[in-house]
């Protein structure tokens, strides 16, 4: 129970298209993160899955059955909202037991179950509190427990961490992931935070402008971004614009050879991406290609790593070195930045 698929789903309001012709499978028991910048249609997609929004076109299927026309109160997918949407007039336990009360469970039974759910999210003994007496992190736990009370076939979370501070957010990401693995419930999390997506998800769906850019496990999406957008959105990337020349890319007066020759027609515009941690710096040019003369413009120590910002003519690059690495580069120093062939990702670019 809980394999969800979307087939050709679109949503538009007049001339505005939020989601366009999107097909996607959510495997049973897995946690999928819908990741993208704000306005990319990820929340609209989640709301269509919940039944809170009707798709303009396309079908939603649960275990093969068409549920497109089933209203939210029949689907009963547990959902955690960005604002948590806890009912202020009910106690913590009554909030958690709400779905059970609607389903007609006897008061004593549902409060007992609420207590068990609160224990699951480490809030035992908080049942009698008012919502106003809880901290942000506790509210989130209550929202999670409440959404899980009806044992939903699909568990939905809309930006669940955005109301929490940075430290708590990291803790809750791990905790939520552990809880999901324990319950093995099909889970879909909407987020704009790539760290959050990478921490929690089995699979990441990167969305942009209502369309899917890439679907894959976190590490794969990070290591092998399918598009320039994904390369720029997931983690940091140095982006250079150039043109194809004999299987390599000419950009900013240098020639960059990828691991395998690129299959672009000569002269066609190409975008080139390279992760900052892959960039190697040296004081003198080395043998071979893939090097760009640059000048250090800024150095930043951020705990475990050191970021070197480089000026290379019109382009700017960032190199990320382990803090342990020797060679302290100083501002103004001329250097050579090498972008190793294995680290280069090439994408076609509209002229």
């Amino acid at each position: 129970m809980g394999a969800l698929s979307l087939s050709g789903v679109s949503k538009s309001w007049g001339a505005v298209t939020a989601v366009s012709d999107l097909s996607l499978d959510f495997p049973e028991g897995q946690l999928t993160a819908l990741l993208g910048p704000s306005g990319c249609g990820k929340t609209t997609l989640l709301r269509m899955i919940a039944g809170l929004e009707a798709p303009s076109r396309g079908r939603v299927l649960l275990d093969g059955a068409d549920i497109t026309d089933r209203p939210a109160h029949v689907r009963r997918f547990g959902m955690v909202f960005q604002s948590f949407a806890l009912f202020p007039h009910l106690s913590v336990a009554e909030n958690v037991a709400y779905a059970l009360a609607i389903a007609g469970m006897a008061r004593r039974d549902r409060l007992a179950k609420a207590e068990a759910l609160l224990a699951l999210v480490q809030l035992d003994g908080y049942g009698d509190r008012r919502i106003g007496q809880l901290s942000g992190g506790q509210r989130q736990r209550v929202a999670i427990a409440r959404a899980l009370a009806q044992e939903p076939s699909v568990f939905l979370l809309d930006e669940p961490m955005s109301a929490l501070d940075a430290k708590l957010r990291e803790e809750m990401q791990v905790e939520l992931r552990l809880l999901q693995q324990k319950l093995r419930v099909t889970t879909i999390v909407v987020t704009h935070d790539q760290r959050e997506a990478m921490t929690m998800a089995d699979r990441i769906v990167v969305m942009n402008r209502g369309e899917i850019e890439q679907v894959g496990p976190p590490q794969e999406v990070y290591d092998r971004p399918a598009t320039a957008f994904v390369a720029g959105f997931i983690g940091k990337a140095n982006i250079l614009h150039g043109e194809a020349r004999g299987g390599a890319v000419a950009a900013h007066g240098a020639l960059f050879h990828p691991e395998r020759p690129a299959a672009f027609r000569d002269g066609s515009p190409v975008t080139l991406a390279c992760r900052p941690e892959a960039v190697r710096l040296g004081r003198a040019a080395r043998e071979g290609a893939n090097q760009l003369a640059a000048r250090v413009s800024f150095v930043r120590d951020v705990g475990p790593t050191r970021e070197i910002f480089l000026d290379a003519g019109p382009a700017t690059l960032t190199a990320e070195l382990g803090a342990g690495e020797r060679e302290p580069f100083s501002v103004g120093e001329p250097v050579f930045a090498e972008l190793p062939p294995a680290a280069l990702r090439l994408f076609p670019r509209a002229a």
Partner: protein, 317 residues
């Protein structure tokens, strides 16, 4: 202007000014709010002088007359407590009807686009400019037997249908018909209709802010947990706006306690409210200011009592 004041350094003179200003303002507000009430309170213990005047006094006779009747202890008359009861009854029902109608309207307005919301609110605010007199005049025409609703219903054959259906005895009992025709005027129905109509825009304006502030995801959360629309309304929306709802009900209730024109035009004489008898005592036929003042004090105390009871009930839960 004294010499000392003219010679005082400007800075020193400027500093105490705000304090005096505040004191003066406080005094003015106290005077405007408290003085009329205190005057009425004092007069209510005074005595009537034949010919329309009154003198200071310290008698409870006016209150005794209100609660026990003119001829006590020979005979007990509850005319005035009954009038008070009608005041409370009409005001409570009018407020309740107005809120019951305004709630779905305000709810529907908050679901619209911002532009549409603004247009609706402007329209409703504009309708607030209609005074009680205008509203009553309008309904007076609409309900009149020769040119209003009863005439239309007769022309449409509804009157005959009701007659044939055997509804007339019931309608006559409710003051809504005489043996020949439907008649809506001078009835509790017309009174309540006018009162509801008068406070309806206020009710919408009062309910709009809490409803538009309500986080829409509260209702959505309830839906994802299996609640049908009506259940969402009953278990989430209404409880979430319970306090503003009670507050609005009280405001409309107190406002309607003072309704005068609607009552004089639409209410059968034997069911009229305290506002009418107060006016009669102070300005009208009886010319008995102390007794009018005593009635006013009782009406005011009743309003205060209702506010206090509702506030307590509201806070307790």
């Amino acid at each position: 202007m004294s010499v000392a004041a003219a010679e005082a350094p400007p800075a020193a003179a400027a500093l105490p000014a705000p304090r005096w200003g505040r004191l003066a303002l406080t005094g003015l507000v106290a005077l405007l709010c408290a003085a009329p009430f205190l005057l009425v309170l004092v007069i209510s213990f005074g005595e009537k002088v034949e010919g329309g005047s009154w003198t200071w006094g310290l008698t409870l006779a006016n209150y005794e007359r209100f609660f026990l009747g003119h001829d006590w202890p020979n005979a007990l008359s509850l005319v005035y407590p009954q009038r008070l009861w009608f005041s409370v009854w009409y005001a409570a029902l009018g407020a309740a009807f107005a809120l019951a109608l305004a709630f779905p309207c305000a709810w529907a307005i908050t679901r619209r686009s911002r532009r549409t919301q603004a247009a609706w609110l402007a329209f409703i605010l504009a309708s607030l400019s209609l005074s009680e007199v205008f509203v009553v005049m309008g309904w007076d025409v609409l309900l009149s037997r020769n040119s209003g609703l009863p005439a239309w219903l007769k022309a449409l054959g509804v009157t005959d249908m009701l007659k044939d259906g055997g509804w007339f005895p019931l309608l006559i009992e409710w003051d809504l018909a005489n043996p020949r025709d439907l008649k809506f005027k001078t009835s509790g129905f017309a009174t309540l209709l006018a009162m509801t109509y008068i406070v309806f825009p206020y009710a919408v304006i009062l309910l709009y802010p809490p409803l538009s502030r309500l986080d829409p995801s509260l209702a959505e959360a309830a839906r994802t947990m299996g609640a049908r629309p009506w259940k969402v309304m009953r278990t989430v929306v209404l409880p979430a706006v319970r306090l503003p709802l009670i507050g609005s009900a009280l405001l409309l209730f107190v406002y309607l306690l003072g309704a005068y024109v609607a009552v004089t035009v639409f209410t059968p004489p034997e069911k009229q409210t305290l506002t009418v008898t107060i006016y009669d005592a102070v300005r009208g036929q009886t010319l008995d200011a102390p007794f009018g003042a005593a009635q006013s004090v009782v009406l005011l105390a009743t309003a205060g009592l209702c506010l206090w009871a509702a506030a307590r009930a509201g806070v307790r839960r």
